[in-house]
């Protein structure tokens, strides 16, 4: 599958944290062909393996998290409106009149109710309702909904993708399935014979609620070294930090006390050698990604973090640049084929 096709299909899958198994079958259909083996582990991580064909080959782990923020049904009213609780960081400012899908026994459409202006009282004009106070209109009665969904049914933003100027794409679920698309494409384009080891691609679970998935997957695989890929904040006008990470700035390679400095430097020189566009992101203590936990699993895993610049994170209109995805795919391919890195980090 072409990269763009992967970018429009993987993020569209429903994968609200804790419900990643909902899409296992669809995921396998979409990307199974790229790999030699696949399994889903006890926690719900989707693990895909591409073998290099050599015995006692080093294990290279590439991690992207499969889960996404979303909601779960917390109440059903008699007249068919759903209350929801947030899973991960949901920005309630964006929800008025926005569209969702309710993933019950069947998938049904819903719309977040918005207070009409005539019911906004004096002085309440700028008050924001909390998620607890918001409701979803389903077009069914509460009784009819009993056969469709129940408390705990996941709810996600409606998948809808818009192509903008300059190869920018907006839609839901790019955090972090867009990185997954880059990884799959990078692995797909790597020739089996040039792999530096067996590649374990982990589409991990529950990153948005603490990173349990990546931790246990890493323990189970026991890799020689790992590449973690997540999204990072691309520059927008309100940001008071540097402007060097923006849509189009390529892979953001993270310098952090959490990640392995030697491996990170190797990756940076790999970028230099191969002409892969990158910038350096400085996150001294906490990367806010799976790298935090993975690097300290078992007897320790040398880990490098490379991120995709993203605007509007955690919204239904996250925005990425196609050129950055191409860059990240290239980085994945060169990383898993790098004999130089394997020589240093293979056990």
């Amino acid at each position: 599958m072409e990269l763009k096709e992967l970018l429009l299909s993987l993020p569209a899958l429903m994968s609200v944290s804790g419900y990643e198994r909902y899409s296992t079958e669809k995921l396998n259909t979409l990307i199974g062909d790229v790999f030699d083996e696949a399994y889903t582990d006890a926690i719900g991580n989707h693990v895909f393996i591409k073998r290099c064909g050599k015995e006692k080959a080093p294990k290279i782990l590439v991690d992207c998290h499969f889960d996404e923020i979303g909601m779960i049904v917390s109440g059903i009213s008699e007249d068919g409106f759903l209350s929801v609780a947030g899973v991960g960081g949901v920005d309630t400012r964006l929800l008025g009149a926005s569209e969702v899908v309710i993933y019950g026994k069947e998938e049904i459409s819903g719309v977040f109710a918005a207070t009409p202006p005539h019911l906004i009282g004096d002085g309440e004009g700028d008050k924001l309702k909390s998620l607890k106070e918001l409701v979803i209109d389903t077009g069914y009665t509460g009784k009819e909904l009993e056969d469709i969904c129940n408390i705990g049914t996941p709810v996600g933003y409606k998948p809808r993708y818009t192509e903008l100027l300059g190869g920018r794409i907006a839609g839901k679920g790019f955090d972090d399935k867009a990185c997954g698309a880059c990884a799959v494409y990078g692995i797909q384009t790597a020739d089996k014979n040039s792999l530096a080891g067996d590649v374990y691609f982990v589409f991990s679970t529950r990153e948005e609620i603490g990173g349990v998935g990546a931790q246990t997957a890493t323990y189970g695989i026991d890799p020689d070294y790992a590449l973690v890929m997540d999204v990072t904040y691309a520059y927008t006008p309100e940001m008071n930090r540097g402007k060097h990470i923006y849509l189009g700035s390529g892979a953001a390679v993270c310098m952090s006390a959490v990640t392995d400095r030697r491996l990170t430097k190797k990756v940076i020189s790999l970028c230099e050698q191969k002409g892969i566009k990158y910038s350096i992101e400085a996150e001294p203590n906490n990367t806010g990604t799976n790298a935090n936990k993975m690097s300290k699993v078992g007897d320790g895993v040398p880990t490098v973090l490379a991120s995709l610049p993203l605007k509007n994170m955690h919204t239904a209109n996250e925005m990425l640049a196609l050129e950055d995805c191409e860059t990240l795919s290239l980085l994945v391919r060169e990383f898993i084929c790098s004999k130089e890195i394997a020589e240093v980090f293979a056990r």
């Binding site: 920005d91 964006l94 569209e99 019911l119 077009g139």
Partner: protein, 359 residues
């Protein structure tokens, strides 16, 4: 151009880009649909499209025909680009009233001459907001449209200050038996759709047409500087009916007294709203008639909103005016929600009123 009717017609109308002042695409489409079903049509100097079906038959007074005006507005709420920043973002203002709560994060479709340009409304991301910012709405002045441009220069190749846009939103039928319809601009393309289907049915089925009927598709309702005033002055009707959508709140957590009207219970007749006191006798007559004929209709139960009726009522030496509205949830947002049965009930009621010469 294909001919559409019913829900398919509403879908086509909903997807057209027609914010106030830029209604021409809507007018062109309507013209393609009513071609052959009206006796004459014209576009007046306020860009209203007015189509006439001439009366005929035994109940029609040839020498001094009674003139009925039926109107719906073509325009929808939207945005206008007010500035382009050095970094290629667009600052904007709303065209018509839009609550800031339904703008944040939404997709928009901007119209640059005849080219469409897509964008996303963005604002300060959640991780940079202070606690107090998270509890308040974001003012529109702090939002901007991101069209993917990286510089002012790139943006200016695709958009100009003054260009208008609308919500970019799919047309979806959902809920039990897909009776609910979600889309943008159902306020008031629903009225336009009902009028187009009405014209066809009158032309096809009505042997006696007791009046000269003027169907006015009007402009600029959403900004209150109503094109309907000009249309009414030009037509000089004996009676006018405004087909509208009205904001309702028949939703969870809202008390009975504030719900305005109930979806699925037919068109809502307004006795009074924020801009018009309607003709009580006419309201009563229409509600009684609906009850007798078993056609669903209801009274609008909350004093709110306003529409073209105020301008039509005050045109020339005054016009008896009725407003019949489809109850719509979340109007002036990308997700107006209406009920299929209400659309049908409104059409049926107007048809019967004309067929039985009750106006």
């Amino acid at each position: 151009m294909n001919k559409y009717s019913g829900i398919e017609l509403l879908e086509q109308l909903s997807l057209l880009v027609g914010p106030s002042g830029c209604e021409d695409k809507v007018a062109d489409f309507i013209l393609s649909q009513i071609d052959g079903v009206c006796d004459e049509y014209r576009t007046d100097r306020a860009a209203n499209l007015i189509a006439k079906i001439k009366g005929k038959g035994a109940s029609y007074d040839e020498t001094s025909p009674r003139k009925i005006m039926i109107s719906a507005h073509m325009d929808e709420v939207g945005v206008m680009v007010t500035d382009i920043t050095d970094e290629g973002y667009l600052k904007f203002a709303t065209v018509g009233g839009i609550d800031s709560r339904v703008l944040c994060g939404k997709s928009v479709l901007l119209l640059n001459e005849d080219k469409l340009c897509r964008g996303v409304i963005a604002s300060k991301p959640i991780h940079l907001q202070s606690k107090s910012e998270r509890e308040k709405t974001t003012p529109i002045s702090d939002m901007y449209i991101d069209i993917g441009a990286s510089s002012r220069e790139e943006a200016e190749k695709n958009i100009r200050i003054g260009d208008e846009g609308v919500f970019d939103s799919d047309f979806v039928c959902f809920g039990k038996d897909k009776k609910k319809i979600k889309g943008k601009a159902l306020d008031d393309r629903l009225g336009c759709a009902v009028m187009i289907d009405l014209m066809r049915e009158i032309k096809r089925d009505m042997e006696d047409i007791p009046y000269d009927i003027y169907f006015a598709f009007t402009t600029c309702e959403e900004i209150g500087i109503s094109g309907a005033a000009v249309a009414a002055t030009g037509i000089s009707p004996d009676l006018a009916i405004v087909l509208e959508t009205t904001a309702v709140a028949d939703i969870a957590g809202v008390g009975e007294a504030s719900r305005v009207a109930t979806q699925g219970e037919g068109g809502a007749v307004s006795y009074i709203d924020r801009s018009t006191v309607y003709d009580r006798e006419l309201c009563d007559k229409v509600l009684d008639f609906a009850r007798e004929r078993g056609i669903k209709a209801q009274v609008k139960r909350y004093l709110s909103g306003g529409n073209d009726a105020s301008h039509i009522q005050r045109s020339r030496d005054g016009v008896k005016t009725l407003a019949l509205s489809a109850p719509s949830r979340y109007i002036h947002s990308p997700s107006n929600v209406v009920h299929r049965d209400d659309m049908e009930a409104i059409k049926k009621l107007i048809y019967a009123l004309i067929a039985e010469a009750k106006l």
